[in-house]
């Protein structure tokens, strides 16, 4: 085996070549995170989310035994979009609210998430549930000053520990302590990864403005009704959210993070007409501002994005990575070749329910089609694998990429 530094450099170069639309020595492959990492180390989801010591040991064990080019195995956290906006005037804090971990969830007492050993069983994965914390009559307040409105009106409703200024004092101190603890754990896992030959590619975050409104302020169903009832207000609200989101996104630069993950949610729900009118314009603006600042975006197109694929071509060549879940990956790759790095291609059901032979065949087939010309990163459609995932299948995947990549 090469020494870890050499291995990390090789992997880094492989990934960067793909991102920069060049042909790497081998198609880079992204590994799993999620339940399987905890299960492999024999700890439950509660321990994985709350005991950073045990989680780090579990991640180390998984990374050592299942070597991929790029690891997404991490201590679980759920998207903290409203917090990123609420703290967007504080560069040093906003970047640290990208993920709300179990202990942060406890400090805030929020109603957005369900954590194992808290609202759900110790064996369950943490889950986002969202909710409605803004009235339909409050769009004007959101439009006027989104940071103030979310910080002062929405969060006290969404977090039991921020209900009153009095309660908020203690909660925010605790939240800060937890941010620090998580930051240290992340640094430690970064160190472990480096020792095992994984490249360091720190990922920050940014968001689609309409997703903030649907997931954290109004709830998906209400938002869809609002779009019909108050189209202009919804549109103005997305426009008002661009600035705080960009402030949050650009704050990452200071901390050396040049790749920003934008996980989309509502994309699959919308018809092309609604997508182009309410979702895409402000998402596009956020991405363009990121690119202008010399950073790249990693957009996770959740579900099926087939109906909106063409809009990606409106972005400048080499803007970042389009990570697809259930979109036809061959179609997407053919359309975006030479313009956008495409990531995805491994259905999680194949790894959970397939056999080493079926995995080998699938990967061979897929790579034959996507490998020529470069600009492709192989990855699971969803990077969290369930705890019963057969380990021989994960090994089969690694071997198949080794053979055909």
């Amino acid at each position: 085996m090469k020494n870890p530094q050499e291995l990390a450099n090789k992997r880094y170069e492989r990934i960067m070549k793909a991102i920069n639309l060049e042909v790497p020595d081998k198609v880079p492959v992204v590994g799993f995170g999620g339940d399987v990492v905890a299960a492999y180390a024999g700890i439950n989801q509660y321990e994985f989310c709350y005991d950073y010591e045990k989680a780090a040991v579990a991640i180390e064990k998984f990374l050592r035994d299942f070597p991929f080019d790029w690891s997404l195995a991490m201590i679980p956290g759920l998207d903290g979009r409203p917090f990123c906006v609420a703290f967007s005037d504080f560069e040093d804090i906003t970047v640290n609210t990208t993920f709300i971990t179990g202990p942060m969830h406890d400090a805030l007492g929020d109603k957005y998430y369900r954590y194992p050993g808290r609202e759900i069983s110790v064996d369950s994965s943490p889950q986002f549930i969202g909710g409605t914390f803004m009235e339909e009559s409050e769009y004007d307040k959101l439009i006027e000053n989104p940071v103030k409105f979310i910080a002062e009106t929405v969060l006290p409703r969404a977090c039991t520990n921020l209900e009153t200024p009095e309660k908020a004092k203690g909660a925010l101190v605790r939240f800060g302590v937890e941010i620090d603890r998580f930051f240290n754990a992340v640094m430690r896992i970064g160190g472990i990864s480096a020792e095992l030959g994984y490249p360091s590619i720190p990922i920050g975050g940014a968001y689609a403005p309409l997703d903030i409104i649907s997931d954290y302020l109004r709830g998906v169903e209400n938002l869809l009704r609002d779009i019909r009832k108050y189209p202009d207000k919804v549109k103005k609200a997305t426009e008002a959210l661009v600035e705080p989101i960009v402030n949050y996104a650009l704050a990452h630069k200071k901390f050396g993070m040049n790749l920003l993950l934008i996980p989309l949610h509502l994309n699959e729900y919308l018809s092309p007409k609604l997508y182009k009118e309410f979702y895409w314009p402000t998402l596009k603006e956020v991405i363009l501002r990121i690119v202008d600042a010399g950073m790249k975006a990693l957009v996770f197109f959740e579900g099926r994005h087939d109906a909106h694929l063409e809009t990606i071509l409106e972005l400048p060549k080499g803007w970042g990575i389009a990570y697809f879940e259930k979109t036809d990956i061959i179609k997407a790759n053919n359309l975006l070749k030479g313009h956008t790095c495409v990531m995805g291609g491994i259905p999680i059901s194949l790894i959970v329910g397939g056999t080493p032979a079926s995995i080998d065949e699938y990967i061979r087939n897929l790579l034959e089609q996507v490998k020529p010309g470069g600009g492709f990163i192989l990855a699971p459609g969803v990077a969290t694998a369930p705890r019963e995932t057969p380990l021989e299948n994960i090994r089969a995947l690694i071997e198949a990429v080794e053979k055909y990549g």
Partner: protein, 210 residues
């Protein structure tokens, strides 16, 4: 008037559709016929979804309209007047607390004439088994959004098998993380990741025209 109501629902003209349906009932219209018209409209919306003309946003809005009309139509129906095409036990599987997909599917299944017994979210296999024993459904519908749900689905099918109930029901699984591979893995009879296709498959499972 029923044709007009059908069209208004299909075109998602919420206020007008509900208003006209209310007028129809108030003027002594036949609630059974209105129910059928609404069901047909939801079927048409489902077809448009499968063709890629409608998206989830349209399905959710259609569900809203349907629920609103049912609110004042169902009490007008005499007991036994409605013939159901089949009975279904439906739940989000263990360790998954999401309900949006299950709820959209439920509205469409009901609109198609299924009697749906909703056993909720985070439903352990034993609860599915109990519900099947109690309600004797034709179909068991399982929903999941997170990947952990994939193994819960398999465990639920296994539990039904162990209880000797597997052959007595058809099993359909649905949700964002579901595909052919998950169907094979879990041992279900059908899968769908959208409500429209799911309801069509449920009818097919019972030998009815999709």
């Amino acid at each position: 008037m029923l044709d007009k109501i059908f069209n208004l629902i299909v075109e998602l003209e919420e206020d007008e559709a509900i208003g006209l349906a209310k007028k129809y009932i108030e003027e002594g219209g036949n609630p059974q016929k209105l129910l059928e018209a609404c069901g047909n409209a939801m079927g048409e919306i489902g077809q448009r979804f499968e063709k890629g003309e409608y998206f989830l946003s349209e399905l959710i809005l259609a569900g809203d309209i349907f629920k609103s009309i049912m609110e004042f139509t169902l009490p007008k129906l005499k007991q036994g007047e409605v013939t159901k095409v089949g009975k279904m036990v439906l739940g989000t599987v263990h360790e998954d607390v999401h309900n949006i997909g299950k709820d959209i599917f439920k509205v469409f299944a009901e609109a198609s004439g299924f009697e749906v017994i909703d056993i909720g979210i985070d439903t352990p296999p034993e609860k599915f088994v109990e519900a099947v024993k109690e309600h004797k459904p034709d179909i068991v519908g399982m929903s999941c959004l997170i990947t952990a749900g994939v193994s819960s689905m398999k465990k639920t099918v296994d539990a039904l098998r162990e209880a000797g109930l597997r052959d007595k029901v058809k099993i359909i699984i649905g949700g964002g993380r579901v595909d052919e591979g998950v169907k094979e893995f879990a041992g279900a009879d059908a899968w769908a990741d959208d409500a429209a296709k799911g309801v069509r498959l449920c009818k097919e499972l019972l030998g009815l025209e999709g």
